[in-house]
Symmetry: C2
């Protein structure tokens, strides 16, 4: 179902010096596949993360926040798919901590140096014994060049694994940025997508990493939405092993600051777009550009109102240029809008001109531009200079099918 999305070519997903990956089958669900992924980090690796704003933040999210706050140096990440360990109270927190303890024993670090992540069904207890039992196999398999496998191990309803890699030169030294992410439902990240990990061997000072994790999330995962539902387990982690032989990036004047930041954003955006391509039931990738907004919040709000409207999404599924639904969504996003300033393009076709149907617009044009699998919508609000881009997908019969049958 995914829209123009191929599995990653393992040869194009570059290893990151200082990070090893291992996998195992804990059989948390009935899947015969890897469902536990372990990431060992070289000493000195710096870590920053952003997490869901949902009040029902899952137990692993709570434990991640605790462990990151301690600043003891994170040495491992452990991820399971199939169970979210959310809404599980004290028992859930204990299960997340037990998982960290088991990893710590195997890798000879403190439990507080481990970050746990879970994704899957909510309100069911984590089968921590199964995970503990599977961990030795994952440790036995640890290797640097396995990011494509890692991307597959963390999937739930994803149909295609998502991994992106780039190389950047800093002061003559080549460093790598590699990221993996999973979606693809209950997905309107609020500070982060469900699970995404971006790693680099660049040397980055902790304050820069802490700032970048938010900036990268805002420029990428926070701009994609499948269904408007923010997950309880959203987590985005940025890792920098510092293995690159260049001078540490300490502030904006450091060589390579802008280039590396741009590469991190580019990799994260590509992952975010892959999530939209693989949105549950997706048959179309929709890119919504909003321009001329009063401020960034307004631009984001307009983009999200269009992206969340089930009427807009079903019209895209039908390849129906239903312009009324687009103006409805814009008008709901900004009730005080002067509609005479609103123009809308579908692809290159001007469809709404200063608040009304464009005189030049024909239904044939609309039908032609709605046909492809990738469609762009541009909205000009004429209220200011802020702009944004939001990515989403359509709502199809399969969206209903996937979500009606998820637990069966």
């Amino acid at each position: 179902m995914a829209v123009n999305l191929l599995p990653p070519d393992p040869a194009a997903v570059f290893p990151v010096a200082g990070i090893e990956l291992g996998f195992a089958k804990a059989r948390i669900k009935k899947w015969d596949r890897h469902d536990v992924m372990l990431m060992r980090l070289a000493p000195g690796t710096r870590v920053a993360g952003v997490f869901t704003q949902n009040a029902f933040a899952a137990a692993p999210v709570q434990v991640c926040r605790e462990h990151l706050k301690r600043g003891d140096g994170i040495r491992a990440l452990v991820v399971n798919a199939g169970n979210a360990n959310c809404g599980t109270g004290e028992q859930g927190l204990a299960a997340a901590r037990d998982t960290c303890r088991a990893v710590g024993e195997l890798l000879q670090c403190a439990p507080e140096q481990v970050l746990p992540f879970s994704t899957g069904v909510i309100l069911e207890h984590l089968p921590v014994d199964k995970i503990r039992g599977a961990l030795p196999a994952a440790v036995g398999e640890l290797k640097e060049n396995a990011w494509a496998t890692a991307a597959a191990a963390i999937m739930t309803t994803d149909t295609v694994a998502k991994a992106v890699s780039e190389r950047v030169e800093i002061d003559g030294v080549t460093v790598t940025v590699t990221g993996i992410a999973k979606g693809v439902g209950m997905l309107q990240p609020n500070m982060a997508t469900m699970l995404a990990y971006l790693a680099t061997d660049a040397k980055i000072a902790q304050p820069v990493l802490d700032r970048w994790v938010k900036e990268v999330a805002d420029a990428s995962f926070n701009r994609v939405t499948i269904d408007g539902d923010t997950s309880t387990n959203d987590s985005f982690v940025l890792l920098a092993t510092g293995k690159g032989a260049h001078a540490e990036i300490r502030d904006e004047s450091s060589p390579g600051h802008d280039r590396l930041r741009a590469a991190l954003i580019a990799v994260a955006q590509e992952l975010a777009i892959k999530i939209a391509r693989d949105g549950e039931g997706a048959t179309k990738l929709i890119t919504i550009e909003v321009e001329g907004a009063k401020d960034a919040d307004e631009a984001h709000r307009v983009g999200k109102f269009i992206a969340h409207s089930p009427l807009v999404k079903t019209a895209f599924f039908a390849s129906d240029p239903n312009l009324g639904r687009l103006i409805m969504a814009v008008g709901n996003a900004v009730p005080e809008l002067n509609t005479a300033g609103v123009s809308i393009w579908l692809g290159d076709v001007l469809v709404v001109d200063r608040g009304g149907r464009a005189a030049s617009y024909t239904e044939d044009q609309g039908a032609a531009v709605m046909k492809p699998e990738e469609i762009s919508v541009k909205v000009m609000l004429s209220r200011g200079n802020a702009r944004t881009t939001v990515w989403t997908c359509d709502y199809s019969y399969d969206y209903v099918k996937i979500n009606a049958e998820y637990r069966t």
Copy 2:
């Protein structure tokens, strides 16, 4: 498709003294059915209305606001189905005014004493000549006892006409409250549903009517949502002809004040619930009660977050007690919530107990309670004393089908 919803029995939809109804086929779409409805009001009828907050408020909504503000005494309402006259600029405003002028000529009143309403496709020009041509036939048919026919004439994607009637005694005098409404997509009324008209022959002072129109909307139409998309044409009008031989209701101490207000709310709520029953593609009616909220806004927000979540709605379609989606929606509505205070019931079954899965809960219980066509969800937040009820429906394959094929 509608959930336990029968067409109104004409004998149970009582006429309202002072109001006559007429119909015609303007053939705005290819329908062979009434698509124009005319309502003649006796002199002295008092009128109050609330309208959409969408910035792209349709031309007829703008004209209604103007005409109501003049306070010249409204003498007629004219409604067309099949075209929303929205996003149509100056030409749209002229079309709405032309319609009022045509009605005024036929009924011998000023154009400003006519309120126009339109519902249907957005961003297409209103075929005002067709409406003007059809009006004489509607005038020729005017009669008091025709509310069930009126309810049918204003439908668009509704599958069943919606009319409700009650009689109340005020000081020994029987007065009637009769209402009609249409839905059933692009529906999250914000001050009013798409089109709803409530009429009574009671004598009600204008300030009381102006207050009641908001209170009735807040207690009924503003609590129903199908898809979270607020229409550009939402209009709710309260009419009081004053034909009843009782003392005018001037304030809260007037005899019958409370009883009549309660009857208006009861009729409006029943119409609102009928809209949810006939929600596009609906197979289930879902009643969401929120208790223990900090304030009314918070209660409403929690109810709406549950009602809008496509994941919750598809789970209801599948009769799947997917509790994780319920807590996800609650946690998104109130990020600062103490989740340990949250309990949730499906029907009579306690499913979430103080933030976690209820110990007594079994999947069999969940399956049994999700099976019927009418399901209630109760959420206790334990934060205060505010409460509300929100009505919605599920998302089915037919929701996608109806909205993917709407314009074809």
